[in-house]
């Protein structure tokens, strides 16, 4: 094992990932369970030549990010569910302005204030745009402290590559836990030069730069939409990421992200000891979603059923069901209210599914 490992919280590791990616601006507002992010940022971002602002609201934070990004900096904000709802306005504007930025959501339980326990109720919000209008945000779902750092690092890269907001969809467990992290794969980088489009004080002798989201005439707006749609199509082709575990010979495929995907790993190990041939497919990008690979599993004769485990009332399961397209039964095993899964919570319904792949108890049926 590497000697370079440091032991830290997921929320702090995310900040370190950001520093290594050259993040120079952070604005945020306190909300549990992501408070370590602004705390860590406020302490360390100055050493990296950046700026930290504790904003008056999440609404202001995301708009500060818009300004910082428009001015050419790699910029990041983080929040937890209710705060991310407030940020949706700004994310919509940033997406339409085609500005890069990174937004991290350490998801807690909603709706409303809910509670501060880990949850996955913001999946739809993250993968369907989230704010008003028609847009998408690249969304990465880490399941370890290592990935908190790595995915924030990657999110900056993808955001700049596509000039689009990139989301890191974490959850309270991943944000709050401490684990060893290895930063050797995350060298410090200089952010790309954006002076060909950013707002700056060096306008002499060049065309002025305009960043706007308003096109009052439909015939002006249509080409902009077309450009965005084409971009999203290219992202869908280029950026799908996923990982699997023991899925080569699996008869029942579990699809999970975030902390439930870790529990699923424990469940698969325990299940295999009692003869259940289980495997895991874990999307890393939930937008773009790995429809193709799930479809392949669904089309395989070996796979008898697909089980989606989520800490919500059923969100990602709809994407999975879309990918499976009725070729195999899709089951949904949820956890509500901020409770966390135990491996047994997953194994018990899976045993029933093995007995009856159409077991109505867990079968996901869309009416």
């Amino acid at each position: 094992m590497s000697a370079q490992r440091v032991f830290m919280k997921g929320n702090e590791a995310a900040c370190e990932g950001a520093f290594r990616a050259g993040c120079k601006f952070f604005a945020g507002y306190p909300i549990t369970p992501q408070n370590e992010v602004p705390e860590y940022m406020s302490k360390h971002i100055w050493d990296h030549g950046g700026t930290f602002i504790q904003s008056e609201s999440e609404v202001a934070a995301i708009n500060m990010l818009m300004g910082a990004s428009a001015a050419g900096a790699r910029a990041m904000t983080s929040s937890s569910s209710p705060g991310i709802s407030l940020k949706q306005e700004g994310i919509s504007y940033i997406a339409m302005s085609e500005l890069p930025c990174v937004v991290m959501n350490v998801v807690r339980c909603g709706p409303g204030l809910g509670n501060i326990a880990p949850h996955q109720g913001d999946y739809f919000q993250a993968t369907r745009g989230g704010g008003h209008g028609d847009y998408r945000t690249i969304t990465l779902a880490p399941n370890s402290v290592q990935e908190m750092a790595q995915f924030v690092y990657l999110a900056f890269e993808l955001a700049d590559k596509w000039r689009n907001p990139a989301l890191v969809l974490s959850d309270g467990t991943i944000g709050q836990m401490m684990e060893p992290v290895d930063f050797s794969e995350m060298p410090y980088v200089e952010p790309p030069d954006k002076s060909d489009w950013c707002l700056n004080a060096h306008q002499e002798g060049r065309e002025r730069h305009l960043i706007t989201t308003i096109y009052l005439l439909a015939e002006d707006m249509a080409p902009v939409h077309e450009r965005l749609v084409k971009k999203y199509e290219r992202i869908k082709k280029a950026e799908v990421r996923y990982t699997d575990y023991m899925s080569d010979d699996a008869e029942i495929l579990i699809v999970a992200i975030g902390s439930p995907s870790r529990v699923a790993r424990s469940a698969i190990k325990a299940g295999r000891e009692e003869g259940l041939k289980l495997g895991l497919l874990r999307p890393i990008t939930v937008w773009p979603f790995p429809y193709g690979v799930i479809r392949q599993y669904a089309e395989s004769d070996r796979v008898k059923a697909i089980v989606v485990t989520e800490m919500n009332w059923g969100q990602m399961v709809e994407d999975v069901a879309m990918a499976v397209s009725g070729k195999k039964p899709v089951h949904f095993v949820p956890k509500h209210g901020g409770l966390t899964f135990t491996p047994e919570d997953m194994l018990e319904p899976i045993r029933a599914i093995r007995e009856n792949p159409m077991n109505p108890e867990t079968l996901w049926v869309q009416t």
Binding site: K24, F25, A27, T51, I53, S55, E56, S57, V59, A60, A61, N63, M64, L65, M66, G67, A68, S69, A70, A71, G72, A73, A75, E89, G90, Y93, S97, L199, N200, A201, H202, Q203, E204, R208, H209, L210, I211, T212, T213, I214
Partner: protein
């Protein structure tokens, strides 16, 4: 609608004439699209003139807010970004912190700055962000068709106060300049009007001071400019500017509410007697 290009000098009947009033360089050639008589145009011109005189056109970055001035970037000839309703000062904060060399201009109306963006306004001011804000207060929502604004005065009829603004139902017009003047982060805040030539010239002086506050790194600056919306007020342009001068100024008294430059001078004056004493004693010694 390109006008004939400006000539700096013309000769008429053998007599040379110089252009003494033309279009500022910081404005694009596009004619304003505001309603006839609307002071947005006047204020745009004043801001552009000040930017020209300070020689900062190519350092300026503008925030276009939501309201009638949403397309202000069509008219100002420097980098611009259009912001969500009320969020201009948050966006401006981001720009200024990342590019401190820029001169950041935020151009906002009353709905934007004093209703939906109140929090952003107060906190940008309180952080003392080096931003210059032009706050155009015309006591009404112009672009959406004449609804009540936070600055609508008592008794004023709008499409959402058809009987006139009733303070018992909806509260009083909000005085932003007076409020912001209380914040230590604010370097300069003044309220001016645009209802006649004299007040327009005063407005220009205030705008210049506001930019100076930013250029000299003193803090947040804002000029609240009482403007008209003759169309939604259902008045002629002349009646509307008269109403600004006669009625609006009663509720929104023009004046300078915070001025670090004046405070500097006052301090210098207060220190002066002791200095002159010291100097004179030195002299006697010599």
């Amino acid at each position: 609608m390109e006008a004939v290009p400006e000539k700096k000098r013309v000769t008429v009947d053998g007599q040379d004439y110089e252009l003494v009033f033309g279009r500022p360089a910081s404005l694009t050639s596009k004619p304003f699209t505001y309603c006839p008589g609307c002071n947005h145009g006047t204020i745009h011109r004043l801001v552009a003139e000040v930017i020209d005189e300070l020689g900062i056109q190519h350092r300026c970055v503008g925030m276009a807010s939501v309201g009638c001035s949403v397309f202000s970037y069509e008219f100002f000839d420097f980098d611009f970004i259009s912001c969500a309703h009320g969020r201009a000062l948050a966006v401006a904060t981001g720009v200024k912190r990342v590019q401190p060399d820029t001169v950041v201009l935020s151009y906002q109306g009353d709905g934007d700055l004093a209703a939906i963006g109140t929090a952003e306004t107060i906190h940008a001011a309180n952080r003392g962000e080096r931003i210059t804000t032009i706050f155009v207060n015309n006591a009404i929502y112009g672009m959406t068709g004449g609804q009540m604004a936070p600055t609508t005065i008592i008794g004023q009829r709008t499409t959402t106060t058809p009987e006139g603004r009733d303070e018992h139902r909806i509260g009083w017009p909000i005085r932003m300049s007076e409020m912001l003047a209380l914040l230590p982060g604010v370097a300069f805040v003044a309220r001016t009007t645009c209802h006649d030539a004299k007040s327009i010239l005063k407005t220009k002086v205030a705008i210049k001071k506001a930019f100076r506050a930013q250029l000299e790194d003193r803090g947040f600056s804002m000029v609240e400019i009482l403007s008209n919306c003759n169309v939604n007020w259902r008045m002629t342009p002349q009646d509307a500017v008269n109403w600004v001068g006669e009625e609006m100024t009663k509720v929104f008294p023009p004046g300078t509410y915070k001025d670090v430059f004046a405070e500097d001078q006052e301090k210098a004056r207060a220190d002066a007697p002791s200095k002159t004493k010291a100097q004179s004693s030195e002299k006697t010694e010599v």
